[in-house]
């Protein structure tokens, strides 16, 4: 992996052990285990309502776990108060499904928020420059920097959200359905951007998606959530080899076959 000079004995960026989450009597996860390796793009798939976003929220500390343990970048997240500093927030970036941009700030100011919070001693000019090149790195035009989120299209909001997630040069990036609602060209561009950023910045990416093309194109491994836990993790051929009916249907359905075919065509 370029861009990171970390030792192999460092803990994995994300380690989930025996996670249980329930809302009242409704059990979302039970005894869920997952390890994300450093420098990989891990795709997370599962049916609607299978708890993909809940898992992500638990890992970033927004959702309290009923049982089990979650370690992120070597720190334990479970059992820590949400608003207390845990020392890892500046090392991760999160892109929410709808972008979740601060609507009263411009795109550039959105990116600046985290810089202000964690590095108040940076000179304001440098902070502005950083915010600006991050926005441009995320594939937005120069003119979008001073615009408000309400003036942006859905795809541009996603990119702006990505710029904000990248504000602190994180090691770990969480993406919740980054290509949902984008046109195929925009989605493919977003995939390429994710891959490029991962390679240049040496990121580890936790990616929730429904987009089979994304899975084939950029994910190193894929984790499948079903029956309240992760039923399998591996490359797509490995997953299909497990023979689990849900995985079978997911990857061998008409859309799965089309995505695979286009991936193979592109590879030739």
């Amino acid at each position: 992996m370029t861009g990171d000079q970390h030792n192999d004995d460092e803990p994995p960026p994300i380690m989930v052990e025996g996670l249980g989450i329930r809302f009242g009597d409704f059990v979302v996860h039970e005894n869920l285990d997952l390890t994300v390796r450093r420098g990989e793009i891990l795709g997370v798939v599962g049916g609607s309502g299978s708890g993909k976003s809940v898992l992500m929220r638990a890992i970033i500390g927004l959702q309290r776990a009923s049982e089990g343990r979650i370690d992120v970048l070597g720190r334990t997240i479970t059992g820590v108060d949400l608003d207390r500093g845990i020392g890892v927030r500046r090392r991760w970036g999160v892109l929410f499904q709808g972008g979740a941009l601060f609507s009263t700030l411009t795109v550039g100011e959105n990116v600046e928020v985290a810089l202000r919070k964690y590095y108040p001693d940076l000179s304001p000019e440098l902070r502005r420059e950083i915010a600006r090149y991050k926005v441009i790195l995320s594939g937005l035009p120069d003119s979008a920097v001073a615009k408000y989120p309400s003036e942006l299209s859905g795809g541009m909001k996603k990119r702006a959200g990505l710029a904000r997630a990248l504000a602190l040069d994180p090691e770990l990036l969480f993406l919740d359905e980054p290509t949902a609602g984008l046109d195929p060209i925009g989605a493919a561009k977003f995939d390429r951007l994710t891959r490029e950023l991962k390679e240049t910045l040496g990121l580890t990416v936790f990616l929730i998606t429904h987009d089979l093309d994304t899975l084939y194109e950029i994910c190193d491994r894929v984790a499948v959530i079903a029956e309240k836990k992760i039923i399998a993790v591996g490359t797509i051929p490995e997953l299909i080899a497990t023979g689990h009916p849900w995985i079978e249907e997911y990857f061998n359905g008409p859309r799965g076959r089309a995505a695979k075919a286009s991936h193979e065509r592109a590879a030739e």
Partner: protein, 370 residues
Amino acid sequence: MQETAQYSLVEDSVGGPRLLLSGPLTLAAIGPLERALQGVSGPIATIDLTGVEDVDTVGAWIVCQLARQHEAEITGASEAAERLLGAVRGIDASSDIGPPRLPVWERVPVMMGEKVYAARSGIYGVVGFLGQILIGMASLVRHPSRFPIRALVHQMELVGVTALPIIGLMSFLIGIVIAQQGSVQLQQFGAEALTVNLVGRITLRELGVLMTAIMVAGRSGSAFAAQLGTMKLTEEIDAMRTIGISPIEALVIPRILAATFMMVLLGFYASVVAIVGGAVVGDLTLGIPFWTFLDRIHDVVPEHDLWVGLIKAPVFGLIVALAGCYNGLQVRGNSEEVGRRTTMAVVSAIFAVIVLDAFFAVFFTEIGWG
């Protein structure tokens, strides 16, 4: 491992002055270096990154800027650094990230103009909105099956029933204060028996309805504005329109009717509770027995005082609901706008209610209902 990034400038006989950077060139460690580098003036021919341990995009960005500023060459970059430099090279990030801002001598007149224009379009808007409501009502009269009866009942509960405790408490205390303060003054003329007239007439004519209108504006007017404003932001209202449901019929009319109708009941209720509060004070401090106080109310308060209050109440309710719904539907853009419009709904509603109350006071006195 060094904690912060360092630099040193060496004179190289072959290639000219050379800037040596060392340590981690990352966001966390770069603050001091960035400030120190601004002091470096002399010509730099090459920037040597051999001593750099770790680098991120911010480090790469600063190196890139420096190289461009001094037209220097970058040497000794690791593979990772080379990649990052490639990613940020050629990005121009010189302009501002904030919203465009005019100089103050242009901004003030522009804002003035916008305020005046907004006031004009506000009047147009409210009149137009009232028209839309009337058209909506007319169409509901023609198609009574479309009438949003469930929404109406729900709003009546929210505006009226759930307000009973707070309005009751408020009115009770107002009744107590008027009776107690009034009796102190009237005692100086030996006329403390007139406390009954004071409490009865002022609550039924003025304070019962006025205070209730202010309370309803704060409770329900603000809720209307915030709720409709949020629905506007989340495109719920657009979604209703596309399904063919008129937001005026489904959202606005139930709220307007509920507020108008419930204001009458709440205003009357507030007056009654205030009189009870006065009677309690009469019983405890003036020696007028509780039931005698209530009996006297019947004799000293003319019937038209009740009508004055009951005629004003629906008008005030209409104004409060109109201000809330209108401002809510004017929300566009961002969450700050919801807050601004909610404030505007409450402030303009209370202001309009007090101004109209003054007109009513003069009007009713002129027609002989003094």
